[in-house]
Amino acid sequence: MSQTRDAAIVGIHEYPSRDVEGEVTPLQIKAESAARALEDAGLDWSDVDAIYDAGEGGGMGGLNIAEYFGLKPNVIDTTMVGGSSYEYHAGHAKRDIAAGKASVALLTYGSTAHSNATAIGVGGRGGGAHPADNMESFVGQTLIANYAMVARRHMHDYGTTSEQLAEIATATRYHAMRNPEAVRAMEDLEFLDIRETSIDDVVNSRMIADPLHLLECCMISDGGGAVIISSADIARDCKKPPVWILGSGEATKYPENGGDITTSAAVQSAPQAFGEAGVTPAEIDIAMIYDSFTITVLALLEDLGFCPKGEGGNWVQGGKLRFDQSGGPALNTDGGGLSSNHPGMRGIFLLLEATRQLRGESNSQVADAKLAVAHGNGGMLGSRHAAGTIILGSD
């Protein structure tokens, strides 16, 4: 398939606070972010004709958000697949724009998970209507343990070590220390000893769910943001250079009898996205990969095709994921979920930082960055999850 440049990210905003102290609502974060992203693009509310929303604002998702924003869009897409929802939204926006159904798409996210003390990490899981809940809630598998079970099997099958996994946490912290908003986030959330970390720091931090240590786990913050995606015609007249959506892919995975827990749904979504874009992982400058935990990134780097399955541990060694090192893509240059923000569904921030890099606006700017991948993993890596892969390119 030949590459098409029919839709581009033209406006972005990242809500700066990670601790709103209960004085701002998720809907307010979404609306504020939408307005700032429209300004960033040089567009207005009245230009928006398509809304993509994961429904975290409550109520009947797409219906409520249109009213709250005061919009009457022609396209409403309420795809909800957890933290990867925003990669799905970007892919769907490109599809709808290419089909002539929309010209300016608005994606927003807002969460007050920190202020609400929402247990997204170590909380026990409650029961629900899905039969899987009935089969799993008696076990006490925390979210971290779910990912830890992937790490344990990865170590068993491929000899991966905690020191290798720690490379991911040290690279993201290295980038976070260069991002004033990430540093403020760690201060507001009362991180102890905020500084660049070493491999030893990570592997000597407290064990939360073996083999994952504290510094291998994302934070729980407030936050949000917005993305504006437009047609090529409109993109040419926007204030900032367009960041083209070159390819998208999506896939799901769930527990199966005899299945391989170390391989994620990315093995299905990545070939779709890279194939549509007509690029290979070796050409990618920026890798924005959902870092809920270190193992998430390691498995996803393999499944996206940066290295063969099982070789991720060796491949990440030596600090090559840092923005100022060669030999691999720069990983999560905003500081990631591990060290910048994780309000529950981090997928939108992957698009935001990838766009900053391709515009030349990052705090950890890779010189002449041309191609980025944003890969969201929604749900839980060790059981049921949704993968969304987006390839982005600058002019």
Binding site: V122, G123, G124, G127, P131, M135, I144, A145, P255, I261
Partner: protein, 139 residues
């Protein structure tokens, strides 16, 4: 009216859920029930009304012998749930039953640090009033 202090117990499955109901009914008899398609032989677990392998099969209930292998595990050291917080550290694991079903459970009767991938385990029923909970202990 005096308030009695509620006992902190393991969260139990809700019987109302129709797909998993037969499995839990089996636990009352200390039977591990799973389904297999009489047409394509796909093993179905958790239980459902439809075969995921073909569109024409009938699902037949079978009884697992109760032995299996640890596929992967983690040792939970921190949980906010009151029951599991008191239990920590404890092991959560995927167990591959010899007949094919993979079930999420706890490995008990062994120090958490001694659990290994590939370890042989067998069912250990934790008794409750209306059903029993399938846990696993080393063979």
């Amino acid at each position: 009216m005096t308030k009695t202090k509620r006992e902190i117990t393991r969260p139990l499955p809700k019987h109302k859920e129709l797909d998993s109901q037969e499995f839990w009914a089996g636990t009352k008899e200390k039977e591990f029930r799973y389904q297999q398609c009489d047409n394509c032989e796909t093993v179905i677990f958790y239980s459902r009304r439809h075969c995921t392998g073909c569109t024409s099969g009938n699902l037949v209930w079978k009884k697992a012998a109760g032995t299996g292998t640890v596929y992967t595990f983690s040792i939970v050291r921190q949980s906010y749930h009151p029951f599991f917080r008191n239990m920590a550290p404890y092991t959560v694991a995927f167990i591959d039953m010899d007949e094919g079903p993979r079930i999420l459970s706890n490995v008990v009767g062994i120090d958490a640090d001694e659990v290994k991938i590939g370890q042989r385990v067998q069912l250990e029923w934790e008794e409750h009033e209306a059903l029993n909970i399938p846990l696993f202990k080393p063979v």
